[in-house]
Amino acid sequence: MNMVVCCKQVIDPEAPPASFRVDAAKKTVTLPPSISPVIDPYAEYAVEAALRIKDAQGGKITAISLGTGLLPDVVKKPLSMGADELILLEDEAFGTGDSWTTAYALAMAIKRLGDCDLIFCGRQASDWDAGQVGLGIAEILGLPSVTLARKVEVADGKARVERVTDDGYEVISLSLPAVITVSNELGEPRYPTIKGIMAAKKKEPTVWKPADIRVEPAQLGEAGRRAELVKLFQPVREGSCEIVDGETPEEAAASLALKLREAKIL
């Protein structure tokens, strides 16, 4: 079983909301330099889904990260969790793209890898929250796909996937190779072990440039993208919270109830 997991490096989505800053001129969102980037948490669920299959029946997991300014300690996390190889698509040309250019470059990298049974992505990346790249890869490679997986099992050349819906889940069966995007309902991704971290440190990632995956500059970045980001801003918060006190928690609760009644909220 050869598996690929697409893992994006993002600014830490768990950082306190007040620390997010928007540079309206550059149209970027930043965090203070003290807060390190992370592997996208949704992608960690995708890594976990692949690892569970590897645990059950063996196989090889290749993580791919695309972007600029990739930090070794960050992008090696899938290796420390148990992935076998790491490919970095790192080049200035991969920046300033959109879902199209990203899906295209990843699809071409997967094509170059060859012989791949399952491709996992997170349900969306926690920076742009688009949820398009996984399906884009499937469309470009002409593969069947399922989104929002909460459980993935493989038997007899088929994947059986539980997909989260608005009111429960559905079971979908599809032949391999296939693309699966994974949702957080899968359950907590495992922590890297010390052994895993040591092994990841020694492992050298493979770096591919656009020419290595036969992608033309016209298909990347500004030239290749179809969506234009025209504005980035932070909505204004009103923020006037009345803290209700009391001698004891019970008293505070009772006066909260009275206040809500007075304000006709109850």
Partner: protein, 332 residues
């Protein structure tokens, strides 16, 4: 762009009627079509969806395209995307809108890649640029910590739209419209990802999306048992219980309880957040709530920046007293 014309809504059915999000999209589409001086189309795809066409017209559609086929009875991505692609290529709308639902999230990106166009997902606002007439698509990004406005010159200009972000028109059964039937032309072999089973996890009482009162618990609740106490208060107020992501991921409550970016979008009158830190990821799911009240032991928790009223302390002590007092007040 000139050969593309009209605004098309991808319609969804729920319990034999148009889904609420579809009526909201028709309301928004009507406004955009009016501004462009073009027609509003509604696309209905399903096993037998012709009966919904008049409802789509009553909510604002000029033309309804109906694709009925046994292979479209339940949502299966491969079949639905083929049907939607066929109609989109035939009609060539300038704008194509889909609900940000479990179907829409899955269908719209596939369709955009097939049509070679750009899609913006989870939009909360749509408007036309006064000069270029391009669709300005506003969506929360970075887990709701910022908002972005996207445009695209590729047609159709596609967006998925969040539930409750738009307002439907008043239903008017005297409105006139045209119904056009399109053959799906599907083969069973075109379905590569096959639906085996659908499991609805029934929730007792009021549905979370429809509830006027929502009692929501977070990581601070600590386990499944704690949610019983939330259910008690929800019962008294005829509301529903919800949760932020951690309780769902930990299996304390079913995933259908989740409120937030990756869960349900709600807009109750009264929203009580208990043991919820107030991450933007969660708050973006309840930003439509009229009054937010928070109970949290951390006075610095972000939830207090979003709430109108708050109590700082241990919910295990506060909630029983609050429930008792509310019970008493309600009895009066």
């Amino acid at each position: 762009m000139s050969e593309y014309s009209g605004v098309m809504i991808f319609g969804e059915a729920k319990e034999g009627k148009l889904a609420a999000v579809t009526t909201e999209l028709l309301g928004c589409g009507r406004r955009l079509a009016g501004d462009l001086g073009q027609e509003l189309h509604c696309l209905l795809v399903g096993g037998d969806v012709g009966s919904l066409a008049q409802e789509a017209i009553a909510f604002g559609a000029d033309k309804v395209y109906v694709v009925s086929d046994p292979l479209l009875e339940a949502y299966q991505a491969d079949a639905y995307v083929l049907a939607a692609e066929k109609v989109a290529r035939q009609v060539m709308p300038q704008i194509l809108l889909v609900g940000q639902t479990s179907i829409g999230r899955d269908l719209a990106p596939r369709l955009a890649f097939r049509l070679g166009t750009a899609l913006t997902t989870d939009c909360v606002e749509l408007a036309l640029d006064p000069t270029s007439k391009l669709l300005l698509k506003t969506k929360p990004v970075y887990g709701g910590n910022a908002q972005a406005v996207f445009t695209s010159e590729a047609c159709p200009q596609m967006a998925t739209v969040r539930a409750k972000a738009m307002s439907p028109l008043e239903r008017d059964d005297s409105r006139q419209g045209e119904v056009i039937t399109v053959e799906a032309g599907l083969e069973p072999s075109s379905i590569r990802a096959e639906l085996v089973e659908r499991v609805a996890e029934e929730v007792e009482g009021v549905r979370l999306e429809d509830a006027e009162v929502v009692i929501c618990g977070g990581r601070g609740i600590g386990g499944a048992e704690g949610f019983r106490q939330l259910e008690e208060l929800a019962g008294i107020l005829k509301g529903a219980v919800g949760a932020s992501r951690p309780p769902c991921d930990n299996g304390w409550v079913p995933s259908g309880y989740q409120v937030g970016l990756t869960g349900k979008i709600i807009a109750p009158d009264f929203y009580l957040a208990i043991g919820i830190s107030g991450a933007s990821q969660h708050m973006t799911g309840c930003s439509g709530a009229k009054t937010v009240v928070a109970i949290n032991k951390d006075p610095e928790a972000n939830i207090f920046r979003e709430a109108s009223y708050g109590v700082v302390g241990d919910w295990k002590k506060i909630l029983p007293a609050l429930t008792a007092k509310i019970k008493e007040l309600m009895a009066d």
